[in-house]
């Protein structure tokens, strides 16, 4: 009897199919050569494989922009929506089907500008989803206009004499919101760090907000010190944070950081030079919005449902 059970469980273990990387690949990406989007796609595919997810049980949702094409190239269920509105769609998926993991992909204009309201409120809702903002500091698909994160003085097609305003700091904006659950920053020119960050975000229960710095080789080739070659960063170090591999230590200083301390996280989020890389904040104790809503609703069987509907109609019954 015992050996039979053991045999069965062994069979079960063997029956679990290990997915290969190409199972998460769809059509050939149509991004420009040298675009950071390629790196994020590959990292995401590696994380999905590492966690051995069934492609049919993952939903990726995006808005509009170069990076928002990502669901086209990822072999899961994907929804490529409209500009700025990825987060409401993700929220709808999570509310309706909390068993489905959701990845939301947006660009900087998509999330911080046209989708700004949804961004702030999504953090407060704290749905359980990985939210990646692929920030290249420019509107690229519409051919080079200033985005909220474009550095001051940058010449773009809408600011031919240079931008007028200081760029928005998305990190401090996130840390200013109530109910923030997870905030990290990474960059596509640091692939190992990128993988570890997405992996960490994936395994966080709550809204994992990750800003990914990446260069647009066509419209902003000089951004981020020409794609990280000359861009000062500081790696946030914590045994429970994003690992800083020895090779990374050559790319910037390291700084001990307690991502559980909201005040420390807020201080780090405000600093931009050098740019903080790693896990800035994490709170594992916050309930997610869908958990709250699902816990409070009943799931009556058909008979109970009809009985309760009948009682509701009764309230309005006059004769």
């Amino acid at each position: 009897m015992i050996s039979m059970l053991a045999e069965e469980s062994l069979l079960e273990v063997c029956a679990i199919e290990q997915h290969s990387l190409d199972e998460y690949e769809s059509e050939m990406p149509r991004w420009c050569k040298g675009c950071g989007d390629h790196g994020v796609l590959a990292a995401l595919q590696r994380v999905l494989r590492k966690n051995n997810l069934e492609p049919e049980n993952v939903v990726s949702v995006s808005g509009i922009g170069c990076s928002s094409r990502l669901p086209h190239y990822l072999n899961t269920y994907g929804f490529h929506g409209i500009h700025g509105r990825a987060l409401p769609i993700s929220t709808g998926v999570r509310l309706a089907r909390p068993e489905l993991p959701v990845i939301t992909i947006m660009g900087d204009g998509d999330c911080f500008s046209i989708g700004g309201n949804h961004w702030l409120h999504a953090i407060r809702y704290n749905i359980n989803a990985v939210v990646l903002v692929l920030d290249n500091e420019v509107y690229a698909l519409t051919k080079m206009q200033a985005s909220p994160t474009t550095p001051d003085g940058t010449k773009t097609n809408t600011t031919p004499h240079g931008t007028y305003l200081q760029p928005l700091n998305p990190l401090s904006a996130v840390m200013g919101m109530t109910n923030v659950s997870f905030l990290a920053q990474t960059a596509t020119w640091l692939p190992a760090h990128l993988d570890e960050t997405i992996e960490k975000a994936w395994n966080h229960h709550g809204l994992s907000f990750v800003r990914i710095l990446q260069r647009c080789p066509v419209f902003m080739p000089k951004a981020f010190g020409e794609g990280g070659l000359n861009f000062p960063v500081v790696f946030l170090e914590n045994e429970d944070g994003i690992p800083v591999h020895p090779l990374l230590r050559k790319r910037g200083e390291t700084q001990a950081h307690d991502h559980r301390d909201i005040n420390e996280a807020q201080r780090v989020a405000v600093s931009v030079d050098p740019a903080p890389m790693g896990l800035i904040y994490q709170n594992r104790d916050l309930p997610t919005y869908e958990d709250i809503r699902w816990q409070r609703k009943d799931r009556p069987d058909r008979a109970t449902f009809l009985e309760r509907l009948d009682a509701a109609v009764d309230r309005y019954t006059v004769t």
Binding site: S26, I82, A96, R299, F305, A312
Partner: protein, 636 residues
Amino acid sequence: MSGPTPIRLSEHTVEIVSDAGEGAQKAAVAFAQLCAKSGNGLWTVEIIPSEIRPPPHTTGSASGNRIRLAERERVTNAGNLADVVLAFNEMALLSRIQAGSLADDVLVLIDDQWATHDVEAYQVSYRKVLAQARERGATIVEVPLEKETLRHVEDAQQGKNMFAVGLLCALYSKDAGLLEGVIGGIFKGKSRKVIDTAVELAGAGYRYGVANLEQRFEVPASPSKVSKVAMNGNTALALGAIAAGFDLCSMYPITPATSASHALSELFEQLGGFVHQAEDEIAAIGVALGASYAGKTALTITSGPGMALKTEFQGLAVMTETPLVIVDVQRGGPSTGLPTKIEQSDLLHALYGAPGDAPKVVIAPSTIEECYYILTVARRIAEEFRMLVIVLSDANLATGQQLFDRPDVSQTPEQPPLDLSPVPLGTLPYNWDPTTGLSQRLIPGQPGGMGVTTSLNHDSDGKACYDAERNQRGHVMRSRKLAALQQTLRPPEVHGAPEGDLLLVGWGSTRGAIEEAVDIARDQGLAVSSVHIQFLSPLPPGLQDIFAKFRRVITVELNYSDDWNDPLITKENRRYGQLAWILRAATLMDIDCFARVPGRPFMPVEIVDEVNHILGDPPAIKSRTKASAGAKGVSR
């Protein structure tokens, strides 16, 4: 019962108005329930100020209800000019005179406290308004509402309304024995003391009425053999949403739609669903669309300004063929317009308010009862046709209450669980049937069905493409579904004879008033009929055949059109009512319109006036020219 012999009437309309917060609405609800329980047919509609606590004792503060009660079981609209008004102060009375709501010879019951009030300005204004009402022909009955109430409670604000209920009970010779039950129901959950005081006050009002009213009425009633419910259209939508099996409603507060979500929020969690209040109107539809994409068809409820904000998402629902239902409880526009008042001005917006060619289904309930059932229809169409379905309700249905047969909840359709069975790899997400455009939807979680759903133009494999042929094909397939749906519809039924001099065409909440007007006009010997359109997109079949049997066809709508005799208005530049606009385009027939924006429902008599006016007119062709327009004189 003592006092004068009651005058028997087949129907009567009474308005109860107070300052906002004085409880006239509650009094009206109590009186309406009293009438319903005794077996009268009813329609009630709220009179709502636009602010929560407007300055008291002003016309802008008038709040209350209109109740039309009848001997017949079925009352389909709010009726004509009111026969009785019970006003808590003279400004409330004045507001109803100014609204054109009262008959000239209306019976006015008014609180007499203002005649001797400490504030002299109130005395002056009271005398002035009463003189004005008398001059119009009103009978004034001053009643000591405040004074008598103060004999029972310290603060008359908290009780006058119950005294008023008793007074109306006496005026309409109702059985005072029903008061206790009705009041107990209305104050359910309140303390015993509150209920006892309310019952005591109503009793006092009744006794006062019996002893003092010189004129009393009776609208005979016989209790209904079938069980009836009374609710407003928004409550009916809320219960209907549950019955339709929705489990997510995503919304953002907007008048006059929000009370539907209030009713739903109260019940939904117990019944397996929830209301998500989103951060804005755009997110509200976005969340609904996300849920629908994930396989749980969702609902969003809004009004005109919210519809405007939702248009980009509407286009997305159409392009991705994601089933979705939007309820638009229409109000006066444009912009903020008349937030609490009725208009039917969102029809063209519902049909065309999205970028690009975005075919949608648009349906409109015409009664409160239909508000209950329409969401089951809407959901079914949305899912079977993978379409966006817009339900156009309005402020009249939202705030009006009608008695209708109690829905049999055991007939509620059962929603099957999600079908997540595997499909072969490479299954097309849009396997369009070439004739109907219909296709099988793939749902996240279905093995083998992975792929992107995109807002970009796509072919049946779901992948983005930009060439002429496949763009045309996508458009054809999305549009063809409307034709396929249209083939399943039946021609609408004509109310009245199938041929005649004039056909009135309506949609939405105006049905009751239009059909009642047709009945009156036919009694006058006029060859008038009406037809009511529930499917605005696609239009039902057979309209041309129906229209062709009438000498003239006009739409009757609560939206704007230019009048023929307005300055500068010509055949070339005249703007028509919205249904007329689409019917003219669909039938190439010369369909005229009677379209007005009074911010209140049509009264049947004003439609009868218009019918008389049209049929007394020179032949149709002449009225179409600028030169003869002056003779038409339709402005009012």
